[in-house]
């Protein structure tokens, strides 16, 4: 009998005009998300290649590595970040590396194209989170109450049909009828990625499959809550209204409120506060060093070259000491802020996860490698590169980069120096997370989505047991 109810539900949905219209709209949006993702990725790759070339070009002609002052590294574009943007558009993609000191992240996508910050991008996450959750509600709100209003419920239950069978048949039938057709535009979109020359590794394909699976689970959660609310109301208009309110809370209000609540509960010093402290400390160190500088007396005043070298060494030493102190101070402040921020983030995400919408967003962004940890991962790679770059400059010049003044003296009879070979510059390698890295954290949210489906089904079951069939 369950099979029969499922078949009926499939036929009822698939032959309806409502399905044709809404599915057409959803399919078009899904395909658009894939095409825009592919186009965006290719544009990002072109921009990334051009920026790297430009970085090397501005070093061409320099005759000493110590003259390299603004070596920049770039966050390489990833195909999955174009499909599930996460925080990728909010973090700086370019970092100037001096060999030591802080690593500012500049050139965010939204900074470059602020109009997108207003309306965000049409990516897969948005389609699932916003459009498909509404699509689920559109078909679930009258699943039970609509049968009552149309009068088909009385006739159905005049037969030996157990309530739980009817409910399970409704849920499974609706899920198959709506979720399986959605896979068609998704598969076409995946095929289009290959045809449009977007290279996805096997690992990325697996992660994309899991993102889609998370989306389907999220869709299932909304379908189940829709059926549950429909089983709690006698009129489908009331069910629709209640579900709309639920949707607004779950998708729009709760995730944002969670951040506000956590922000109120756990105080994190602002970046401006931290920078102000760093600035004050830096000023203090400079004041101390100026005293040292004024007390500098060269030992060998007869030889100008040696005198300059001695001064250069002295300046290098105090710069190194100052930078060391500054680094220690900055690290301590940054760590304190990072620790508090981690506590605040954990609290915010914990509260937000009460909403299936937040669970889905977190699962999708984690699987795509564009979650909040993306920034830390990039910063970590940049810091690693900074050390490599600093060592490279030290090896090449015998001096630590980035500090003090550099004097180079040339006499007219000296051989003209050769330009540096920019190919020797160590390459920046950013290793994006792989499935093994992202699966464990994503599993929490995937499990939560399954839990939501189970809880909502239990609610639907309890409500339908008492449902007035007349």
């Amino acid at each position: 009998m369950l099979k029969l109810v499922i078949e009926k539900e499939l036929r009822d949905i698939l032959t309806s005009t409502k399905f044709t219209v809404s599915f057409g709209a959803c399919a078009a949006l899904i395909l658009l998300a894939f095409f825009m993702g592919a186009a965006g990725y290719k544009a990002d790759v072109a921009r990334y290649d051009a920026a790297r070339r430009e970085n090397l070009k501005q070093m061409e002609g320099l005759t000493d590595w110590i003259m390299v002052r603004n070596n920049r590294i770039f966050l390489p574009p990833r195909p999955l970040a174009s499909l599930v943007a996460g925080v990728s558009n909010d973090i700086g993609r370019t970092t100037e590396v001096h060999g030591r000191g802080e690593l500012p992240q500049d050139d965010t996508r939204y900074g470059e194209e602020p109009v997108f910050a207003m309306f965000r991008f049409l990516d897969l996450e948005f389609i699932f989170q916003t459009v498909l959750s509404l699509f689920a509600i559109l078909f679930a709100y009258d699943a039970i109450s609509g049968e009552k209003e149309r009068g088909t419920m009385r006739l159905s239950f005049a037969n030996p049909l157990p309530r739980h069978t009817f409910l399970a048949g409704k849920l499974i039938g609706s899920f198959i009828a709506l979720a399986v057709p959605l896979l068609v535009p998704i598969l076409i979109g995946c095929a289009a990625l290959s045809l449009l020359g977007v290279p996805l590794s096997a690992d990325e394909w697996a992660r994309l499959a899991l993102i889609v699976a998370a989306g389907i689970l999220y869709f299932g959660a909304f379908l189940t809550i829709g059926i549950a609310v429909s089983a709690m109301t006698a009129r489908s208009s009331n069910a629709f209204l209640a579900l709309l309110v639920f949707w607004i809370f779950a998708v729009l209000i709760l995730p944002r409120s969670a951040i506000l609540i956590a922000g109120r509960a756990i105080d994190v010093p602002s970046v401006d506060d931290i920078n102000a402290k760093k600035f004050r400390y830096s000023e203090q160190l400079f004041t101390e060093d100026r005293l040292k500088m004024s007390g500098f007396t060269p030992a060998k005043t007869a030889d100008m070259r040696k005198m300059v070298e001695e001064f250069q060494m002295f300046m290098g030493q105090i710069a190194d000491e100052r930078q060391k102190k500054m680094d220690e101070f900055s690290t301590r402040l940054n760590e304190e802020r990072a620790n508090r921020q981690a506590v605040q983030s954990a609290a915010a995400l914990g509260i937000a996860r009460v909403s299936p919408s937040a669970s889905f967003s977190l699962a999708a962004a984690t699987l795509a490698g564009t979650s909040v940890s993306m920034k830390d991962r990039y910063l970590e790679a940049a810091q690693g590169y900074q050390q490599t770059f600093g060592k490279f400059i030290l090896d090449k010049t015998g001096m630590n980069p980035g500090g003090g003044m550099v004097f180079r003296m040339r006499t007219g009879d000296a051989e003209k120096p050769k330009p540096i070979d920019t190919h020797e510059l160590p390459a920046f390698v950013f290793t994006p997370p792989v499935l093994a890295d992202v699966l464990p954290p994503a599993l929490t949210d995937l499990a939560l989505l399954v839990l939501y489906i189970m809880v909502f089904f239990a609610v639907a079951h309890a409500a339908f047991r008492r449902y007035d069939l007349r």
């Binding site: 009385r154 030996p160 069939l469």
Partner: protein, 246 residues
């Protein structure tokens, strides 16, 4: 030994949560091959009685039994033995008449019969052949009512519950319906029909019961009503005159 009634109400009482007494200790029985017409105005309790037989609601007191099965104790088993046609048959509008018939027939627990059986049932209730494959969304009330009766026929249950089945039907359709009802009775079905229609009730019923404010105020075999002015009798009982007679 007397045969067990196919449909039986014994002290059947229903008081809703808001305190309204919809049904007050009614008792009646419908034998195989018998039509029981339950007459009464709006709010008399006719539909409540049918809802109790279908276990859509549970009785406050008493029992409704179908072939001896107490409906609120074993509703699924009881529903295997009863077919139901409501006042306004509503089916799935995106399905054809045949698809609706197929769904509800299989829902009754019967294995799917060949398509010709559905066509025969639809033809028997007077639905034109060209309408068999059409979607229900364009059907009139009369056509839907015919589909509902075809569903009841296909279920082939020994008992049939009809809730105001002729309401809104044109005279021709009403006449055809009565003919069909008689043929089902002749097949041995026990039929309980609630209706406002005094004259059709007298025409087809073997037993007529009159309900007023949740009570069965009159119950007589229709042969005893021959020659009586049914309308007058009905009005007398609705107004509180006349006694309960079995």
């Amino acid at each position: 030994m007397a045969e067990r009634p196919m449909l039986e109400a014994e002290g059947l009482t229903k008081r809703y949560e808001d305190g309204v007494l919809a049904l007050d200790h009614i008792s009646f029985a419908v034998q195989k091959g018998e039509v029981y017409a339950m007459l009464g105005g709006n709010g008399a309790g006719k539909t409540t009685a049918i809802n109790l037989f279908l276990n859509f609601i549970e009785p406050t007191e008493g029992e409704a039994r179908i072939d001896g099965i107490v409906t609120h104790r074993d509703p699924l088993k009881a529903k295997e033995k009863v077919a139901f046609v409501s006042e306004n048959v509503m089916l799935y509008p995106n399905f054809t008449a045949m698809q609706n018939l197929d769904y509800f027939t299989r829902l009754s627990g019967r294995p799917a019969p060949p398509g010709s059986a559905y066509r025969e049932a639809l033809s028997r209730v007077g639905l034109q052949a060209e309408a068999h494959g059409k979607k229900l969304k364009g059907f009139s009330k009369g056509m839907r009512q015919k589909c509902g009766i075809a569903i009841a026929i296909m279920k082939n249950a020994p008992a049939i519950l009809l809730d105001e089945p002729t309401s809104g039907l044109d005279p021709q359709a009403g006449f055809e319906f009565i003919g069909l009802l008689k043929s089902l009775r002749d097949e041995g079905k026990a039929i309980l029909m609630s209706t406002h229609d005094i004259f059709r009730a007298k025409e087809v019923a073997d037993v007529v019961g009159i309900m007023n404010r949740g009570r069965l105020v009159m119950q007589r075999p229709s042969r005893d009503l021959a020659g009586l002015d049914m309308e007058k009798l009905y009005m007398q009982h609705i107004a509180g005159h006349g006694g309960l007679a079995a």
